[in-house]
Subunit: 414 residues, 4 copies
């Protein structure tokens, strides 16, 4: 005696790989399926629809199959409301809570599908039921574990939750489709930079916001001026970096060196190795970066341009830091919250030579945000792109030549 259930797949079920994965899941888990309806969207933007009856030997097997199908975007044809349970204490979720993906998600409440706000991976979903005399209707949004408050209504189990994995861009339709075949240094660099420049320009033209995530290598490799230029010219709206990035940028502004090396002349001035620690002590003495700019201590560089152009920056602390600067947020949870806020505003994120900060920002991004990731280490690029982002370009190249070329292309139109 077998048990059965009808599930549906909707949307870009072929391009996203959803159908192939769902069929595979059923077969792997020893189930059977019968395709009842299969409408293929034959145009690029058309959506497809598939309805199938899934059969298994017993309820347990069926539940397992349905769990997996749910992960891949399939849903029951007659979905129930989501199950809610109150958080027993601050920071403690109900057992069996639903842990989010980074894909667009809906939660069924009172027979309606509520879109989940601020989608982010590995979070709980909290539902506010509205009512209580208030005018607001019900809403659902994500919360990280450490933000959970006692009594929050948290979604448990996956019934009544619907995930919409993004389609992968098809064919040879520009750089965001280009990455599908894996990451390699053997790509046409100049052409790829041109396409990245176009997507920055496009984002700006649409009124979007560009967030740069930058590691110290940007400064060491001599690309600081070019990044400063992108901030000044309005192509980079926000900056996410660490204490080290800021210190090396400020050192360059004060001493012309980065970790004691003159990035123009390649000379190591005497005492240069002490510049970075002197830089820190001077900024501390001034009372912070903004104060240092106001006092004329800092007259150029990326941080300078952020200050004078009102480009918000988040400097997240780490256990590697010297100093740190007064501007650096030393608490990791606080820093994550600041990063999260920036990430939600970003329409395009450019990650430049930093694994730590890029992962931190990437963790907060929905799969629908455009991401450009540039690093000289292919393993870093692979790791950063391997998060189910729908629109990601990876480029294995030298930031020291990449950022200047990007700035030239965008600003000088070369």
């Amino acid at each position: 005696m077998t048990v059965a259930r009808t599930v549906e797949l909707e949307g870009h079920i072929i391009d996203s790989g959803m159908m192939q994965q769902c069929f595979g899941v059923v077969m792997d888990l020893g189930g059977d399926f019968d395709v009842e309806v299969f409408d293929v969207g034959t145009h690029k933007d058309a959506e497809s629809y598939c309805r199938m009856v899934v059969t298994a030997d017993d309820e347990d097997s069926l539940r397992e199959i349905l769990h997996e199908l749910h992960q891949h975007g399939a849903h029951l044809s007659d979905p129930p409301d989501a199950t809610l349970a109150p958080a027993p204490r601050d920071k403690v979720v109900p057992q069996g809570f639903y842990s989010t993906t980074n894909h667009p998600t809906k939660v069924r409440y009172d027979g309606e599908w509520l879109p989940v706000e601020n989608v982010e991976m590995d979070c709980a979903i909290v539902v506010e039921t509205g009512g209580d005399g208030s005018d607001d209707g019900p809403r659902a949004y994500t919360k990280v574990l450490n933000a959970i408050e006692e009594g929050d209504l948290v979604v448990t189990d996956e019934a009544g939750v619907r995930v919409d994995p993004p389609e992968r861009p098809r064919g040879s339709k520009g750089p965001f489709g280009f990455m599908q075949g894996g990451v390699s240094a053997e790509r046409p660099s100049a052409s790829l930079i041109r396409e990245i420049a176009e997507s920055v320009a496009e984002t700006k033209a649409e009124g979007g916001t560009v967030l740069a995530v930058a590691g110290p290598a940007v400064i060491h490799s001599g690309a600081g001026d070019a990044l400063a230029r992108l901030v000044r010219e309005g192509y980079v709206d926000m900056l996410s970096a660490g204490n080290g990035f800021a210190v090396h940028d400020l050192e360059r502004g004060q001493y012309g060196t980065s970790l004691g090396l003159d990035v123009e002349t390649l000379e190591s001035p005497r005492k240069g190795h002490k510049h970075h620690i002197y830089t820190i002590s001077e900024i501390i003495r001034a009372g912070g970066i903004e104060a240092a700019v106001e006092q004329g201590l800092v007259e150029d560089g990326v941080m300078y341009e952020c200050v004078v152009n009102d480009a918000p920056y988040v400097l997240a602390g780490s256990i590697r830091d010297d100093g740190p600067l007064p501007d650096t947020i030393t608490d990791a949870v606080e820093a994550q919250n600041a990063i999260r806020e920036q990430a939600r505003e970003a329409d395009l994120v450019i990650m430049l030579s930093t694994l730590l900060h890029s992962v931190a920002v990437g963790n907060c991004l929905p799969s629908t945000t455009r991401v450009v990731c540039v690093d000289i280490d292919p393993a870093t690029v692979t790791q950063l792109l391997d998060r189910g982002s729908a629109q990601a370009i990876g480029m294995v190249t030298d930031v020291g030549t990449f950022v200047p070329k990007l700035a030239e292309t965008l600003v000088d139109g070369e």
Copy 2:
């Protein structure tokens, strides 16, 4: 006015990704399709079948679509015979010749599907029509460009050619399925080695042949004894390597050093840096490796075990070589032919820390041969596995610990 053609997909069309790719191709190229029959093989080993009518705006577009569909394994529902043209000169193929994939392939001749022998990538297919009073029926086989002889009947265009891309192993069914998610050093090493050992043991139990492709790092990293043991105990049947590998192995046998470093004590004996060139001159003096073994000059090591256990070895020369040894095949085309012969006999190929030799061997393998690829550089493993092999395990690890552990597991049953 549109034009249409009916195509079929057969086999593991879902697991192999064939269906998804074929649908994508039609959409990308602006065509339309109508699925007429769609039978899904719902059991792991069952095959599926899909028949669809593909429509395009004109003959050119349709031809382009059909070409792409063919690459992904689709075929016309009413296939013609393959087109044959004679090679105009030695080493010169007819224009528009069909260039092979590494997948199982059939050629339609006289209404019959001939399996293509010795499938290998980037070759021409030559058809011998039989007849001529001979008893042999017609046959088809691959030839590399430099082996083409004037008058060879070469397949041109892709009509009448059928490719069968292998299914990708599904789910979590052992190590050969494991690689699907990309290459990473962060894998459970001991467990993966155990599974590789099992597939070696299985291959041997089935009477199969194991080919080891080994780079000099095997010796430098101290794994030479373990590889020698695998040859002696019959787990490795054939060896493919370069001049450098043999020199360092023989140096170890003669001086206990590899490039002058004692791999046991980590000492660099005085004059050690000259050992490798002295080793070469001694082997030349002896008249080759086999002679050196017979004369008692070489008493252990990988090459020694190959000689005394009749394990055939191919030493392919390269422009990096010192010497070279008399046994090294210095001509690249001759060396490729020797490699090709070994590759065709192999049921399992273990590639150990050499990109050059692994690519050379990999180029000669059909997609159905099992491949294990071990290197400490993830980029090397990715590149080697990125060739559409159906059964490949990649492992990012240190050969210096990998080979001894593999030998322990296989020989001592640990």
Copy 3:
């Protein structure tokens, strides 16, 4: 008219490269020198002595030369007392403060050379003058910038400061000398592991303390059991890691998976991808790792062994963290202080597959602490060893095979 000054070099001035560097400095900066005394210590442990008169064209050039010579360990033959200045505010050092190296250092105060306590790179030196009716004599110690308190007497300039760069171990005298020729994967792995085991055993035999710095890859690669064993058997006394390491270790204990993958069977159990976030929520619910062990929630693994064997652990937070666990120190400065305390107690530090935590620990170590650094990425090993450590072994290998082999060698005596 030229100016001159007499400087002295003492100690292992040849082996440490000091002499070569000092001669080079004078020549590079356009000075002249006349060697007055040159006594070479001709035995391995004998020290050498060199006295030379350095001449330059003017006071400025001479000062520059002397600054550089000081960096390389030379000192004036008639040293003055160190200059001291009070810190104007908390966290603010006097201008021109002396920034430390990681080498043994002395400060001249009241005609006596005080050894600087807790030597660490990029710190200020604070002198407590004693007196004040107290019995204590004067002392000198390092302080990081953020620990400076108003009124601290801080050393400025380098007069009266003496640095003693360590000799580099000579020749082929075991693994700590072995690294001199750079980092490479092509080293004899088994022999090198044996020598590392010996230095661990030796450190323990001398009553020393071994600190392991471990990244999440230790768990992913299946080496968790072996590291747990090293803690249990007393070969690892302290642990420095991050939130991620602890989560993956605890996940293994609770679910048998690491990031959802079973490290024994290589299976990915259904729902496995949620295990790590469930693990975090369970540990939060329990009230922390120690509580979870007491409640029987965690029954094995590295963290378990640390708890039951009273091996102190520091879990430093980062912006990448999920959760975090209640045990994780989220503030970077606090975490650095905890790391610093551990680092000072360590006689041997083993860094396993983590750049972030290894740099953080390495920043706190004097150049005299033994360091073993293991990573699969040669760039990481190079970066970690490139800090002037006197006794460092780097090994480019797979922690997944390294830690088990190390444990076997140490515990089973294999």
Copy 4:
């Protein structure tokens, strides 16, 4: 009872590290030394001189010490003539033959120091004694093992041989000094490219010859046009590459693609994956590259510019090759001879993204030739620079941006 011998060190004995190494050798090997004369060249270009008496416990120890000292450039103060022995057969050297370094070397013959011609690593030195009624005086030159002819007078042992290791450039005096601190991607890219351009310009201004060694990645990364430009404008005089480089360059010329990818538009034209094998068959049909240029089949690209600008090229075959092209030298020994001839004429060698060909060329270079090595993999750059070259710049960057920027700087003077 001890034995003693007097040795001398001359030249840049401090800058080259020679003195430090020699002192270390004596100490490591248990000997003693007494410095009799020590004259330090106190100006940048002045040479130093050191004479010391080396003492050991017995003749064997002394011989060992002297062997090591010889390797580091020390020589006996009363050198004998070199020992010569005839080669017993073709390709067979006398036992104990002297194996060369890549440093300038002299051989003492008949009381005179003969400079060794065509210095190259791991060769034998052959002395032609002159006389025989011929007018030529005696001469000495290197021969690789496979070129030895029966009866050649080969130097054995190291008596009467003198090696002059080059000084390492000092301080921050431009890019060739810059590499001393190891290889890293975190260098100021634009500045470093500018300095490389200057050294190319300087070499050309001095009438020197520039050899480019190029891998296929140059073409894949879209840098082919820029390299072609450097050939056309006379900044690159000779090319050393492989079959693959030429094929991809020619494919770009014929189809606008490289391995099937359009490097301008990033599109993969249909059938693009067959372009490289079609390219090969077309060039074979034409009769070779030069013929293809003459027939108008190839109208641009690197190979085209080499042909029309009479820039000699060597295409060395390898076992990875498809085809190969008729121009490719398939025999490794023949190819090495062609490479050797080019290498000897080169004053500056630029190695671009190829380990195989760079090692092959590097093997043939004396330590006095300038070398620039560019690769995105730091391990490759490290390996290539680790050969005792006196004048080497390594740069870890993307050739796809490097070559265009270099061409801009050189040709457009930007």
